[in-house]
């Protein structure tokens, strides 16, 4: 009985040891994967930041273009109004 108990205990210890070895392998693999994902996340973040910067720049350019267009329209309207005013004055006797 004693011998049987000893054999079972040794088998359990062996199994536990083997099982411990498998866990550390997995851990290393997982750590490597994490590293890769981390690196990818860095890249994605950089990409997102540059995309945002590009979008912001594009938006600024668009805003400026719109501002310029509005300004041009305002100046054109002012010129047209001034021309009309001069014309109306010229219609007096």
């Amino acid at each position: 009985m004693k011998i049987r108990m000893t054999v079972i205990s040794m088998m359990l210890a062996l199994a536990a040891t083997l099982s411990g070895c498998a866990t550390s392998g997995d851990l290393q693999k997982m750590q490597a994967q994490q590293k890769l994902i981390d690196a990818k996340a860095d890249q994605a973040l950089q990409d997102a930041q540059s995309a945002k910067a590009a979008a912001d720049a594009a938006k600024t350019r668009a805003d400026e273009a719109e501002k310029r267009a509005t300004e041009r329209e305002r100046i054109a309207d002012e010129k047209a109004a001034r021309a009309d005013a001069v014309f109306q004055k010229s219609m007096k006797k």
Binding site: A80, S90, K93
Partner: protein, 504 residues
């Protein structure tokens, strides 16, 4: 959906970083570039875009939305935007309403008068052609430039876009005055002449030019005391002084001819110093440009002169808000008051009191929101506001589509360029539209000064002429300086040597 490719060129989405006053939160403007409307804009909240433009939400801002890349129901929604935007445009609205066939002519001056009706004439639309100006269209169709501009807000007076549809305000509510003799409404800048023969009553109506803010046309009851064809103009002291200060002294009197501002006919009124007369500046009809006299187009004053006996009653009123009925429909016509906007308040209150009384009499409810819109927009067009009898709304006028005439009556004609002639360089501009506008303004001076734009690469030169000699050219340059503040450069004829050198 065949129009979608056109639509995609016209619809522009702007990211509006300013919170919209209407919505109190971030909103988007959708602009539609559409002939006849300078800038149609509708404002939508972000929710609208989540629903409709979700698929194009990542497109950079301020770009055309490619409608061919969105699903059919999104296209349908985009078409909805288009229709909504069109709704804000009176010009296209008018065009859509007009379902009648194209007509060659439309009545413009003379209308039969029914005792029960206060509204005469019909609204019309015309498609503009290249080279048209609003003063030319106004003269051809017998409307004032004020009325044409008010009916078509946002349309460039001098350089409108070819293809634009223009509303011709040829429907009028008669002034609230006795229908006899001549009645002039200063606010609408229109003269009405009532005539009764044995069988029927007729009203003739013409656009007029009136006095300035400083020298306004007087209101009140007057009569025609005498008439004169080819009148001499005795220059009043006030005008002589104005001209002397401008460096353009006038003689004591000016005989009939192109320089005479009275034109070919004059009707002298019982109020001393005031006349109804023609003009040598037809483009001034519909403007406040006289010294208190009432000006008519040359072709209109001749008719009025021939049909008005001495002693005819002349009543001058100032009624910016008019109401009247035709065929059981009540119409309202609003004009911008001549004085400051609040000066029309008394007139408006009178009209509101009348409307309240009509509402009570008819037992129908008036759309007061519509009344206020008509008043605020002040388009000078009779707008149906109430059916006085059930079903009468169907009788409301359809808008007539008028063919563009081959030649507009009175449009200034440009003589051919000649190398041997004299010219005045009136402007050298980088903006073509500005150059076209300047040339059109010079063309519409009185007496006319021919002018055109000669474009070379990115420069656009406004050339006045041809003039047959140096004196004519110098005179034109002087008028350009005095009347339009233009420093023109007089150019002599191109000599043979110059011609050879320039051709090499």
């Amino acid at each position: 959906m065949s129009d979608l490719s056109d639509l995609q060129k016209k619809i522009v989405i702007h990211d509006n970083t300013q919170p919209s006053a209407r919505m109190g939160r971030k909103a988007y403007r959708v602009s539609l570039r559409q002939p006849g409307c300078r800038n149609i804009t509708q404002i939508f909240g972000p929710g609208f875009f989540i629903l409709t433009f979700r698929k194009v939400a990542y497109l950079p801002m301020l770009q055309n939305v490619d409608l061919t890349r969105v699903s059919p129901w999104l296209r349908l929604m985009a078409l909805g935007v288009f229709i909504l935007a069109l709704n804000g445009c009176a010009v296209t609205k008018g065009a859509w309403l007009s379902s009648g066939p194209m007509e060659k002519e439309v009545a413009r001056n003379r209308f039969p008068l029914e005792k029960s009706d206060d509204v005469i004439g019909r609204l019309a639309v015309i498609r503009l052609e290249d080279g048209d100006t609003l003063p030319d269209i106004a003269r051809h169709f017998g409307v004032g430039i004020n009325a044409l501009s008010a009916a078509n807000p946002g349309v460039d007076v001098w350089v409108p876009t070819a293809g634009e549809r223009l509303t011709l305000p040829l429907s009028f509510i008669l002034p609230d005055a006795p229908r006899k003799g001549i009645v002039i409404n200063l606010a609408t800048m229109r003269l009405f002449q009532f005539k009764d023969d044995r069988t029927s009553a007729v009203v003739s109506t013409y656009p007029v030019g009136i006095g300035t803010k400083e020298r306004p046309t007087p209101t009140g009851q007057m009569r025609v005391t005498r008439k004169a064809a080819r009148p001499t103009w005795y220059v009043p002291a006030s005008i002589a002084e104005d001209h002397r200060r401008k460096g353009d002294p006038l003689p004591a009197k000016i005989a009939a001819g192109p320089q005479n501002p009275l034109g070919e006919y004059a009707l002298y009124l019982s109020k001393a110093g005031y006349l109804i007369h023609g003009t040598n500046k037809p483009a001034s009809i519909g403007l406040k440009a006289s010294n208190g006299c009432v000006r008519l187009l040359p072709e209109n004053v001749e008719t009025l002169f021939n049909e008005t006996p001495v002693n005819t009653s002349v009543l001058i009123v100032n009624q910016p808000y008019l109401i009247g009925q035709r065929d059981g429909v009540l119409y309202m016509e609003a004009h911008t008051p001549l004085e400051k906007p609040d000066a029309g308040a008394i007139e408006l209150e009178k009209v509101y009191a009348h409307l309240r009384s009509l509402e009570k009499q008819s037992g129908r409810t008036l759309d007061w929101k519509k009344v206020k819109t008509v008043q605020a927009e002040a388009r000078g067009i009779p707008v149906p506001i109430l059916e006085l009898e059930k079903g009468a709304g169907k009788a409301a006028e359809k808008i007539v589509q008028v063919e563009h005439p081959d030649k507009l009556y009175g449009k200034p004609e440009l003589p051919e360029l000649k190398l041997a002639a004299w010219y005045v360089l009136a402007g050298d501009l980088s903006d073509e539209v500005e150059a076209e506008r300047l040339a059109a303004i010079i063309n519409h001076q009185g007496p006319p000064i021919p002018a055109r734009v000669l474009s070379k690469q990115d420069r656009h030169r406004v050339i006045a002429g041809p003039f047959s000699n140096a004196s004519e050219a110098n005179d034109a340059a002087r008028r350009l300086k005095i009347d339009l503040e233009i420093n023109g450069v007089v150019m002599g004829p191109v000599s043979k040597t110059e011609s050879i050198a320039l051709n090499q």
